[in-house]
């Protein structure tokens, strides 16, 4: 474990006290940060300093700190989740930064993700899309034995590739149109690959896409930025599958 200490770095971070308040950047100096420290621990160190100086600490979303809950969401030096690949902000470490560097930290920027405070945003829109159809309509109980539904290994693996989405919103934050297509595609594609999902496939694709459009996400222009930013490397091939599902649903109308 490399134990190089960054003596001085600068964090230029978006500060906004409430959803309707005017926001702006503030720059803070942080000292003595080990490169083995995670990015969010560096923010912890900065916040501790701010509190002791009588200032308001930076509000940010985070929880599991192991890359799976999808809560953390910082736009760092122009990249969702920062300069490393296949990681969330909480898995990013300070060894990706150098002495004296100024690190710019912004919230996810999208009309559908309004700022709550500082770099904390409201992703309720993602909830509403899932509520519109991101499920198989089965009640608890009265279902067949697990092995009655046989699923080929390749289909199960592909469904799992899509299901790995953590709902962080990096795709939306990265997309120049703030499109949620990769997020919607991940769920639609998971169920499209499984027999359990087939029965409601048409209804699901239409309902989730309609909700996405209603909530102010932009359209997809296939530039693929979302896939690169995705900490779980969800492929845009799932968007192609969503398009097929959606088209066949519309044709059936």
């Amino acid at each position: 474990m490399a134990d190089i200490i960054l003596n001085k770095i600068y964090v230029k971070v978006w500060r906004q006290n409430s959803p309707k308040a005017k926001g702006g950047f503030e720059t803070y100096q942080v000292e003595n940060v080990s490169q083995g420290t995670s990015f969010l621990e560096m923010i912890d160190i900065l916040n501790d300093k701010l509190i002791l100086e009588g200032k308001d600490p930076i509000a940010f979303d985070h929880d599991c700190r192991e890359g799976i809950c999808g809560m953390c969401s910082m736009y760092i030096n122009g990249h969702a989740h920062g300069p490393d690949t296949e990681v969330t902000t909480c898995q990013l470490h300070m060894r990706k930064f150098h002495e004296g560097q100024t690190i710019v930290v912004e919230p996810w920027r999208a009309a559908a993700f309004p700022v709550i405070k500082d770099v904390m945003v409201d992703r309720t829109a993602f909830e509403k899309i899932q509520q519109a159809g991101g499920y198989v309509s089965v009640n608890t109980g009265g279902v067949p034995d697990g092995n009655v539904i046989l699923i080929g290994q390749d289909d199960a693996e592909e469904a799992m590739d899509a299901a790995a989405c953590i709902g962080c919103g990096a795709c939306v934050a990265t997309c120049k149109n703030s499109s949620a297509m990769l997020f919607v595609a991940a769920k639609v594609s998971q169920f499209a690959k499984l027999p359990q999902g087939k029965i409601e496939a048409k209804k699901r694709a239409k309902a989730m896409v309609a909700k996405m459009d209603e909530l102010g996400f932009g359209g997809c222009t296939n530039t693929g930025g979302c896939e690169l930013a995705c900490p779980k490397s969800i492929s845009i091939a799932h968007i192609a599958r969503l398009n097929r599902e959606y088209l066949s649903a519309k044709l059936a109308d």
Binding site: Q91, M120, A132, V138, G141, A156, Q190
Partner: protein, 646 residues
């Protein structure tokens, strides 16, 4: 004699649950519509309960502190979920799962609850498959299984290394469907601050909106807590940053007994603490011990050189490596249960053989497995874990052994519940990790997911009817009752008190100090003198907290420091109860090791004559000693024996 009514049904073990279901009340559909249920916490247990209750027709209001139920820490479970399906034809059965769980828990769990858990376990897999959970499959399309620590059969179902995520997303999708149908009202970014008790029954909660800071009242005919465990009392743990015990703790202070707090699981394979700036610990799945060999240097001087960075682990030849688990436990070797592996690592590090700068790490080495099986096989089995390890530590585990050390992972203790999962407050239920019920003194791998979903899908939806059947004449709960007003006032008063201390020390400083006290004295190895010291030090720390705490920001805005202050205030009380319980239990069992109760070889020694009971504590005041209630554990089916892994 026990003064707690556990309501364990009579009759043979395999018939208890069926008989019980036949006797408990069922509420008619027309009456369910008139009954309100609050569910706090929407991880596996809470989301599955909220969805299932809403499907049955109850009006459900659910709460979570995150911005979505999908964030709950159930999502981080890696390995799998156990179920007695016997799909592998390897002679698994409900009885075998029941037996393994009782034995794994070191004979400190209730037989009847554990048998029920094993009975409903197959239904969980069916339910999850029907929801579209992408479990791993064989080429022929059937479900795959793998083995987990401490058992002889292959009964663990999994979805890569993300089983918890996929099961939670399944429960989340069921919950979303009910939200869409209007049968569940979901409040995200809300934190429960108190439970409201009216005429001795739980009738609602007080919650704080974490965006606006507003304190609100919610009424219901029953309240369900599915709020997880208390591992974060130690500050450093594998829990998420927000995991807290406050919901269970306010319930305790309103009269719900708290059981077996000293049963804490310390997981042997976590990435070691790095410096003093670390905020949480990351687990490396137990499955790694199938192929990794655990060792420290045989010579102290080698350990010293490693700590100074003068030599690399691969400079130490095999003859100078001490594979201490294989040496001490030849028959189980690297696959001894979690509690045993953790204590053995601590023993070596305490003796001066630790391998990192802090002297608090051992090696988990894949060199031998790579030699035996090839790099590709190892990559296929553990690739994502190796990648995660490298991202965090900057060390390539294909080339150099991993460093691991035990860390707080799961809490078996929790709110005391009866067989119906009801706490000692009528109308208040506790599910999943939040209750104490099924894992005894040590939880087996892949059983947490099983218990959370069993409680939420297949136990509570039946047992809650027995209580609510008696509430059908009770109209909608009026939140203008004086009890609600008093509870809200107390919550606001408490928040203002924390906010107005205006001392000099941020809350994390107190939390870290509390964690250090607990880790040093109430961690992997405990003794009377240390536990008494811990109680005194925690009491002192609590005093300092209330005179020197500094909470910045505003009361009526997003304020993570205020949230943390409330949680740490509760941890400062819970930590003391944990130490008191550990002091009372002068035996070693499962995750609880008392130095006074060990065999000559230093292994844990149970004392069934004096401690075969559940310790349920009753609150009497923050600075008063709690009252101990004992629920005797009777073993009608399984014979108690001393565990041995030699």
């Amino acid at each position: 004699m026990s003064d707690l009514n556990s309501k364990i049904p009579s009759g043979p073990i395999a018939e208890k649950w069926s008989n019980h279901k036949a006797k408990i009340k069922v509420v008619s559909p027309a009456n369910k519509r008139k009954l309100d249920v609050i569910v706090v916490g929407t991880g596996l247990a809470g989301a599955s309960a909220a969805a299932s209750l809403a499907e049955l027709g109850y009006n459900v209001t659910a709460f979570c502190y995150q911005d979505s139920p999908r964030r709950a820490h159930s999502i981080a479970a890696q390995g799998g979920i156990n179920a007695a399906k016997n799909y592998q034809n390897d002679n698994d059965s409900v009885y075998r799962l029941f037996y393994d769980t009782i034995k794994g828990g070191d004979y400190r769990a209730r037989e009847a609850n554990v048998h029920r858990l094993a009975e409903v376990s197959p239904n969980i897999i069916d339910q999850c498959v029907a929801q579209g959970v992408p479990f791993a499959r064989e080429y022929g399309g059937t479900l795959s299984n793998r083995s987990f620590g401490g058992v002889l059969v292959s009964r663990t179902f999994y979805a890569r290394g993300q089983t918890g995520q996929q099961l939670l997303l399944g429960a989340y999708s069921a919950l979303n469907r009910q939200i869409n149908e209007g049968t569940v009202k979901m409040h995200t970014r809300h934190e429960m601050m108190d439970v409201v008790v009216v005429d001795g029954k739980a009738r609602g909660i007080i919650a704080r909106d974490m965006v606006t800071g507003e304190v609100k009242r919610f009424g219901a005919h029953a309240v369900v807590l599915a709020t997880g465990g208390y591992g974060n009392v130690f500050f450093l743990s594998t829990n998420a940053m927000g995991c807290n015990a406050s919901a269970s703790w306010v319930a305790y202070k309103k009269g719900a007994y708290f059981a077996n707090p000293c049963y804490v699981q310390i997981h042997p394979t976590c990435i070691p603490v790095h410096g003093s700036q670390q905020s949480k610990l990351t687990l490396m799945s137990e499955s790694l011990r199938n192929d990794g060999r655990v060792w420290v240097p045989r010579k102290k001087e080698d350990a010293a050189k490693l700590r100074k960075g003068e030599i690399k682990p691969n400079d130490i030849v095999d003859e100078d490596r001490d594979f201490y688990l294989e040496r001490r436990y030849p028959s189980y070797g690297n696959l001894v249960p979690r509690d045993v592996a953790s204590r053995a690592a601590k023993e070596r590090c305490d003796a001066g053989f630790g391998v990192n700068k802090e002297g608090m790490a051992v090696f988990l080495d894949f060199k031998y497995a790579i030699q035996r099986l090839g790099r590709d096989t190892i990559a296929k089995r553990y690739g994502n874990l190796f990648q995660m390890y490298e991202k965090i530590t900057d060390v390539d585990p294909y080339k150099e052994p991993m460093q691991i050390y035990p860390a707080i992972h799961y809490t078996m203790g929790g709110t005391w519940v009866d067989y119906n999962l009801m706490t000692s407050i009528p109308g208040l239920y506790s599910l999943g990790e939040a209750n104490f019920s099924d894992h005894g003194a040590n939880r087996l791998g892949a059983s947490a997911l099983m218990q959370g979903l069993a409680d939420g899908y297949f136990v509570l939806p039946y047992t809650i009817g027995d209580y609510l059947g008696g509430e059908i004449m009770v109209p909608k709960i009026n939140t203008n009752l004086p009890e609600f007003e008093a509870a809200e006032k107390a919550v606001v008063g408490r928040l203002e008190k924390l906010f107005n201390i205006k001392g000099k020390t941020p809350v994390d400083h107190f939390h870290k100090k509390l964690g250090t006290i607990l880790w040093d004295h109430v961690g992997m190895s405990r003794n009377e003198a240390g536990l008494k010291t811990a109680i005194e030090e925690i009491q002192k720390l609590r005093k300092a907290f209330y005179s020197d705490l500094l909470v910045p920001g505003e009361l009526k805005n997003v304020n993570p420091e205020l949230e943390k202050a409330g949680r740490v205030a509760d941890f400062l009380e819970l930590g003391e109860l944990l130490a008191r319980d550990a002091l009372n239990r002068n035996e070693s069992c499962g995750g609880h090791f008392r130095e006074e109760s060990a065999t000559e070889e230093g292994e844990a020694k149970r004392d069934d004559d004096n401690f075969a009971y559940v310790a349920a504590w009753e609150f009497r005041g923050v600075d008063e000693a709690p009252v101990l209630h004992k629920e005797e554990l009777t073993f009608e089916t399984i014979q108690l024996t001393q565990r041995s892994y030699k």
